[in-house]
Symmetry: C2
Subunit: 438 residues, 2 copies
């Protein structure tokens, strides 16, 4: 007898996030190898699958997409908080980063992946140093990752000169080009840390390989005046002038963008990643997300690094995003739960150029699936699954996670990492960090 | 051999929240009957205690105080969201509340208590209908509760006339006066739903019994203009004019208060309860909490009812409070983690008039203690316990809870309630709710 599926997940309420936002009350997902082969009613059959996950009473949904983070900064979480931005950067983050090495980033990323899987994230986009280690750690954890080495005008603790930065990036592109989980982006840090030449060269490299360009944009008020002073333009007009804007651009933050820039972004089909908790904690500002969405711009959700958040939990990020824009607009109808869940799933995939492989539960897509256990007092009773996921569920309610068809967490046990070992190594790194900033 | 303690909690980092904010790195709490008898270094002895809880690697802190909620509204969570306030109230909440009965409130409060204990809350202040049921359910769950029947000008589904409302309140005061866990407040709903006579009578009753007066104050912009139109004064000036303001007043929300009102509140030693998530979700506004604190006013933290939040988790509420005021002030130093944790513990106790019995870990106080397990990827490594508790920990990280010396949760298992039975009953009520609003 032939086995029809490698894995079945059944008996839960499926939120497909397909174009019709189809909800299947008591459904089944069938997975063959790495792909979704069935989404719909439960079909019974003896010996139908090698493995069956019973999601009884739970919600089955696409794995969440964390569209902007610096994973290895998990090792700096809580190192310094409640400080003016420049104090925080100059006295804690920069001195520590100057001492970092490859193993630090590998360890920090493993720790971050553990946290992300345990809170329902299946895909993340990363920007940091030693990104080959980030990619290795993500692969080790079994996570989908768009990684890229941060590029800027000053010498890097990893690659040294700008020239070597591009060399390192080209190496990453080449090394990971056929990987099922890892893909690479070109990642100039920001318009205020990268020369026009660097930005143009980075964009050309990205376009030559048909991969994304990830960049921090318009994050603080200070940045806006700095760019205007230096180049006589707003950050997005500056990029447009350099010929760098386009659908390949993933712009993180976008807190300070005016009407004219939004039109420029829409025209160029720029993708935006919103990081509400980091923007709040660093007191950067409130990004005009409802206005960007009205322009038809794809907006994804990110946690940013967890030194400025301080976690990688997209459930709390969704909750905050929904509430922040209601209060900013003084309108409770803004950013409804369904739109916010889409931001953390399908629109995340779209922003990262992965909408054909992840972000929704549809036949033919890669199987990136999570199950939320709703049999808990804070999720009982259930009137509306979108509301529960955004306003009441926690990352810790996610019980199972499947990435690329592989079960990476079952009943809250990580199957890809030795959690105790990862945490022990993280503690060792923390001891070093304390001496670096002493 | 005599046993020295009934219960010992040891091997964790103790955040006492005592006047010196003492932290004991590897400490021990000794409990005799319902009170704390030892806070300090570990003292060994054979047969020293009837029961020992090992908090190894965890943080031991005072149980959290949810200073404003409507517990039974847990049964309305997610019933309707993202709607204009009046739609939400008129088409969902009010029609449902009109059909409610005693058993509904009892069931909803049990469900809420389960959620609160599981997320680290040990004390809550409640305002709702059928509050004798709230008190019974809290006692059943083993929680400390300040309960009070909501009073307003129109007929109540519980007591009917105003006269009966006062009668019901007096009955509550009498019934619960010697209870170790339950205490009673007089709770007129708000200045816009209560006549001047009702407010004065309520305040007199509270003062006669030396108990608090709980009231919603200045929650929405609409309320301010309504009160000004009706009485020619701001809400707090109105209460002052009626002779109702004083240290017994617990004012929930206080979103719209100006400098003059803040001085009035400070002079009268009014207590304030901040509900940031509810205020955001309903798009009410941002309460001027840093300014209120600068005036020396005691500010506590609340979740509000979970129809407008949608949870009772004070960990996420702390996180939101810290971040919301940073962005509102555009200053990352505002509302540091330590101040926010104090808001959810000691200042909560102060607001409810319970600072002699709870809110900190000090010898002689009642033993209301929780243990947070930090042996998790999102809490590893640990540089600063205040930062972790406010910015990274979740309610689900609380593993043990002791209230009034009694272990109510151990290793995340509720010991006072049959959780499956509570959830089953909640589902039954939800089926009824759906018919009420159909």
């Amino acid at each position: 007898m032939t086995v029809e599926y490698d894995l079945i997940i059944k008996n839960g309420m499926i939120l497909t996030l397909d174009p019709g936002d189809t909800i299947i009350e008591n459904g089944m997902i069938g997975i063959k190898k790495d792909r979704i082969a069935h989404v719909g009613r439960i079909v019974e059959g003896p010996g139908q699958a090698l493995k069956v996950i019973d999601a009884k009473g739970g919600i089955i949904l696409p794995g969440l997409v964390n569209a902007h983070t610096h994973a290895a900064m998990s090792l700096f979480r809580g190192l310094a908080d409640d400080l003016p931005l420049m104090d925080w950067l100059n006295h804690y983050i920069f001195p520590a980063e100057a001492k970092m090495d490859a193993d630090f980033v590998y360890t920090g990323t493993l720790l971050a992946c553990a946290e992300m899987i345990l809170s329902g994230t299946t895909t993340f986009c990363d920007m940091y140093l030693f990104e080959d280690e980030t990619a290795k750690a993500a692969k080790q954890a079994g996570m989908r990752c768009l990684a890229g080495e941060v590029l800027y005008d000053f010498p890097s603790p990893n690659y040294g000169s700008i020239e070597n930065g591009f060399k390192y990036t080209r190496h990453l592109i080449d090394k990971w080009k056929n990987d099922p989980l890892i893909s690479i982006a070109v990642e100039p840090h920001s318009p205020y840390t990268c020369s026009p030449e660097l930005l143009q060269r980075a964009s050309e490299l990205a376009m030559a390989h048909n991969i994304p360009l990830v960049i921090h944009m318009a994050e603080t008020r200070h940045e806006i005046s700095e760019i205007r002073e230096k180049y006589g333009r707003s950050p997005f007009a500056h990029l447009d002038h350099l010929g760098v804007l386009g659908p390949h651009v993933i712009a993180d933050h976008c807190v300070f963008v005016d009407e004219k820039e939004m039109d420029l972004m829409a025209r160029n089909r720029v993708k935006v990643v919103h990081n509400p908790e980091s923007n709040m904690k660093l007191a950067s500002g409130i990004a005009p997300i409802p206005a960007l969405m009205k322009k038809g711009i794809t907006v994804a959700l990110g946690t940013d690094g967890c030194a400025s958040n301080n976690d990688l939990d997209l459930f709390s990020e969704m909750d905050t995003a929904a509430k922040l824009h209601k209060i900013a607009a003084m309108d409770p109808t803004v950013m409804d739960a369904r739109s916010v869940l889409k931001m953390a799933t399908l629109n995340g995939a779209k922003a990262l150029g992965m909408e054909k492989i992840t972000g929704s539960l549809e036949i033919g897509k890669k199987a990136d699936v999570i199950v939320v256990n709703t049999n808990k007092p804070h999720l009982t009773p259930l009137y509306n699954p979108f509301s529960h996921l955004v306003y009441a569920a926690k990352g810790s309610d996610v019980v199972h996670s499947i990435i690329n068809g592989r079960v990476v967490m079952e009943n809250r046990t990580l199957l890809t990492l030795d959690l105790e070992e990862v945490m022990e190594k993280a503690w060792e790194k923390a001891i070093a960090v304390k001496t670096w900033i002493a």
